[in-house]
Amino acid sequence: MVNRWIKKQLIFAVVIIGHLQFWGCSYFKIMDYPTPILLEAEDHITMRYVYDVVTVLAAVKVIEGNPTAYRFSIYRRDALASPIFEKIFFPEDSIKLILPTDSFSRDYIGNLAVLTPLGGDFQRVETPFSVEGSGIVRLPVIEVRKRPYVLTGRVLRKSDLLPIEDATVIIADSLDTIRTSQTDSLGFFRFELFTDVGERNDLKLTVSTDGYFSDWKSAIGFNGQKKMDLGIYLGPSKELLSAGALYRVTRDLTPFRTGPENGAPIQFLLSKGDLFVVSKVAGDRLYGFVEISGEASDSTQRVEGWVLRQYLEILP
């Protein structure tokens, strides 16, 4: 009985040993994977840069109107396509913003602050400024006004339509000069008039050329429009220059009479510089015509009459 049990155990042991001899310990062997298995995710890294900063402070003064809010934008002037900062502020807010120094251009007035008032017909205000380094930049007080009335015009010589440069253009009322400008090399001038001026109806526009041509004067009114463009023609027309002997009036308030005799009715008074085309002479009195220009147009009208010789000089 015991021998049989020993025999069975021996056979079992031989089988096990033989099996292990042939297969090794592969049943119990575990392979180690050579590298750690990592997720390689990016979400467990956070980065934050700290830059030198510039604090921009702006104060807004409402001159006219009641804007509901302001859109305040900062641009680099070398990249005006998109702002480096933009935010809506309300009138009671103080405009203060802190931006990294690197955002700004270091060029002289290389940056632009733009305030766009919202809620009405307001003028957008642009304020160029410089940033030299970190610190505080205080912008000048930004004045909020309604969009201005714009008067533009061009001053031309009537005879050949060439532009008249450096003509003095004056906007005045019955008491005082309000604005003055000069024409550029192309004869252009431009005025931006705020509401308090633009909405008046007693304004007069004068264009003078230091006596080279007679002054041009006209009343102006915007009549509810925001823009007005004028074409102003000075001097004699081409027809006048070729009409005959040309004289220039040498004294203001020179009587222009209907007849040669003393006491003949005065049609109107001529100004110094007016041109007079002579066709007939009777002693010290000359007969001819002057041109009267229509207001703000190149239309002219000929008026015939008499002028004393002593108030005229012949043009070469």
């Binding site: 392979m31 590298t35 467990h44 890294i45 934050r48 840069y49 830059y51």
Partner: protein
């Protein structure tokens, strides 16, 4: 003398530096920049030239983080690394003739494999004769044994053909 001054000026412009503050969670990780060990987290005010650098954060028992960072010209740069734990996982299967893949990068055929695996979600894919036959998401948050068994899907009953 002049070339020396010029060289110095150009050098100053070309090598502007940014102060690095590096934190890791957990702390105590070794920080290597461009292969050079610079200290153990937290690292404060380490001056580094502006430009691209290779960062490596290593801590035993945690997944190392390698990252290439383009350091900008700034007053300072604060970087926080969150390190994930590495767990020991033993993968066991009794299925025959299968190939396994983790995250589409790591492949094996052996029935028992021990991994060091970063905590988080991993994708296990099973192939038989180059065909994908199973796909599972493994969420690893502790050391464990994974016993894989291929579940045979019951065949869908065929609809009887209609006779015209």
């Amino acid at each position: 003398m002049k070339p020396v001054i010029l060289a110095f000026l150009f050098g100053a412009i070309g090598f502007s530096q940014t102060a690095l503050n590096i934190e890791s969670f957990p702390t105590g990780a070794v920080v290597k920049i461009d292969g050079r060990e610079i200290g153990v987290t937290p690292v404060d005010s380490y001056q580094i030239p502006v430009g691209v650098h290779k960062f490596e954060i290593v801590k035993k028992g945690y997944a190392p983080v390698k990252k290439e960072i383009d350091v900008q010209d700034a007053l300072s740069l604060q970087i926080q690394f969150r390190l994930n734990k590495l767990y020991d996982v033993v993968f066991i299967t009794r299925e025959k003739g299968l190939e396994f893949s983790l995250d589409e990068k790591h492949f094996w055929r052996e029935p028992k494999v021990r991994f060091q695996i970063e905590e988080g979600k991993h994708l296990l894919q099973v192939f038989q004769a180059d065909s994908l036959i199973d796909e599972q998401n493994l969420s690893i948050d502790h050391s464990t044994d994974i016993l894989y068994k291929l579940e045979v899907m019951p065949e869908e009953p065929q609809e009887p053909q209609k006779s015209e």
